[in-house]
Symmetry: C2
Subunit: 334 residues, 2 copies
């Protein structure tokens, strides 16, 4: 009986270890594309095993409001409040504020829906009262019933500046107001030397059971690069298992200006181009079946690959891709 007990004990302990030390996953995300995979991951992983870090390089002040486009897209997507018809903003949206703004002769290049405004107003208020962006984001997650930890990459100002043939532009001015028309000559991250990574970001990076960092299918140059530009982050990422899901499929970006940027920055606009751009940061790369032919070259450079269907049209697509990615990660690093 004693023997029987001692024989069982290690088993129980192992199970307890497994429960007490569950693996952790850290997702880096920009807006729409990244949020789709983040939503999939949130369905596949228990909330406490997932940290989602949002790019804040796009954040800007508009009409007195602090607007955080990537955080907002993540929150709306994770709360299932995203506007599926528009592909941005909130569902069931109305535009009476914008209509009136226009009638009163104000700037209307950035569309703010009546419901969406509430979120920006609350955030701006709380920031004005001294809360950090991390605290505000946590509050909004709670109010929206979002379980995983969604955190800004930093609580400090870091501003993505797109250098163009028409001069430097803040990201939303380039992306929304100018509709990505000016040709890009470079990208800068203003404030990157003084901005500190958020506590939750660092906590996840230093998590003793961090299984992998997952770079979501977001724009490498304006969604992921700002995160990497924060002091100490690149070194920390290099010390961790990192995989990326390609934002380029068959030479095209499903959304946003990534493909146009790659052309203008003279980078080959392919999944391979993305993989090479991330370079030694990557341990693994998830590419679409349409790009299967690049797999061999990536593997030859020491990057493990998962070739699968990466276009996420439905919720089921998002969950399935997330499941495959997590399973694959656990195969590489059991």
């Amino acid at each position: 009986m004693t023997h029987s007990m001692s024989a069982q004990a290690p088993k129980t302990k192992n199970r307890m270890d497994q429960q007490a030390n569950p693996p952790h996953y850290l997702a880096l995300s920009g807006g729409v594309g990244g949020a789709k995979l983040a939503l999939g991951l949130s369905h596949v992983l228990p909330a406490e095993q997932l940290t989602i870090v949002a790019n804040t390089g796009d954040d800007f002040e508009h009409l007195g409001l602090t607007i955080c486009p990537d955080i907002d897209t993540l929150l709306y997507t994770l709360a299932d409040l995203n506007n599926k018809a528009l592909g941005w903003g909130r569902q069931d949206e109305s535009w009476h504020f914008m209509e009136t703004l226009k009638a009163l002769g104000a700037e209307t290049w950035f569309q703010l829906g009546d419901r969406d405004l509430a979120l920006h107003t609350i955030r701006t208020q709380k920031l004005a009262h001294g809360e950090t962006l991390s605290q505000v984001t946590h509050f909004l997650c709670q109010q929206l019933g979002i379980s995983p930890n969604v955190t800004p990459m930093t609580d400090d100002p870091l501003k993505t500046i797109v250098k163009t043939t028409q001069g430097p532009l803040a990201f939303q001015h380039y992306f929304v107001r100018e509709q990505c028309r000016p040709a890009i000559t470079g990208i800068e991250f203003e404030g990157r030397h003084s901005a500190q990574p958020s506590a939750a970001f660092l906590h996840a990076l230093h998590h003793p059971h961090l299984k992998a960092v997952i770079i979501c299918p977001s724009n490498p140059f304006v969604s992921i690069a700002p995160i990497r530009s924060l002091p100490g982050i690149e070194e920390r990422l290099n010390a961790r298992p990192v995989i990326a899901v390609s934002p380029i499929i068959a030479g095209k970006a499903l959304k946003g200006p990534a493909a146009k940027m790659m052309q203008e920055l003279k980078l080959p606009c392919t999944a391979l181009g993305v993989c090479e751009y991330y370079g030694s940061l990557l341990d693994g790369f998830v590419l679409d079946e349409a790009d299967a032919h690049y797999s061999q070259e990536m593997e030859a450079h020491g990057v493990r690959t998962l070739t699968t269907q990466t276009v996420m049209r439905t919720l089921n697509d998002r969950i399935q891709l997330a499941e495959e990615v997590i399973t694959w990660i656990n195969t590489i690093w059991p």
Copy 2:
């Protein structure tokens, strides 16, 4: 022929004098009741002969926005955009911002419609960029097609504080959040020693052809008193012909807490009580037919009276009362 020409010359000159020196009228107004008469006056007088000074003692910061309830009511009323069903706010209003604010756990005691928000946002933005409240109000008038000069009483902070048995309350907190429930023990105007009357207010008061100051049927204690409390204003008003239109009819205020305030401040809640409260400031008083019996006592105290139908239900009522008031003023001071 020479004689004939010289005989005509003075006539022409007189007509030109009349045109070159038209009489000017200065209306002092709070919100709803005052705005009704202001609208009537705007129909009766050429725009350049009317200055409307708005109380700003109710102004407050809410959700990061500078809200000026009396200016807003005047603007919406004069632009025929006021919500006739509600009696406040804008017409064709929607409430998606408020609904979402509530769902996200924010303060919702002050109702801000989706369209109304645009006006507050523009004002807050312009103030943040260094424009004065006068400049912003002028801009909004232009955008809304409002011709008469609507001006805040001051560009400086002056805050109406209602002292109650439950402690001091900013006016909108007393009026909207607490719905006038706490009993009033006094009223203070925070900042009244340092706030300067606006340039347009002073300009109208010093107008060489100022015919009269018209105190609109607004709350004497919280709409007109803040205007009078500004440095130098009471003396200037005393030096000018001033008439008031009673906000109390048959012992009742048509709107707002004036009657309740009079009771709590131990003032007789009658048109006569209002007339006595204004005291030596007044040269004339317009009272409703329902209060005709007070006329004799007012006249005995040297206040001329106009007894007429003062309830303004329709646009026609507003125009008719304004017409009668202007005609009466021109009879008193030809």
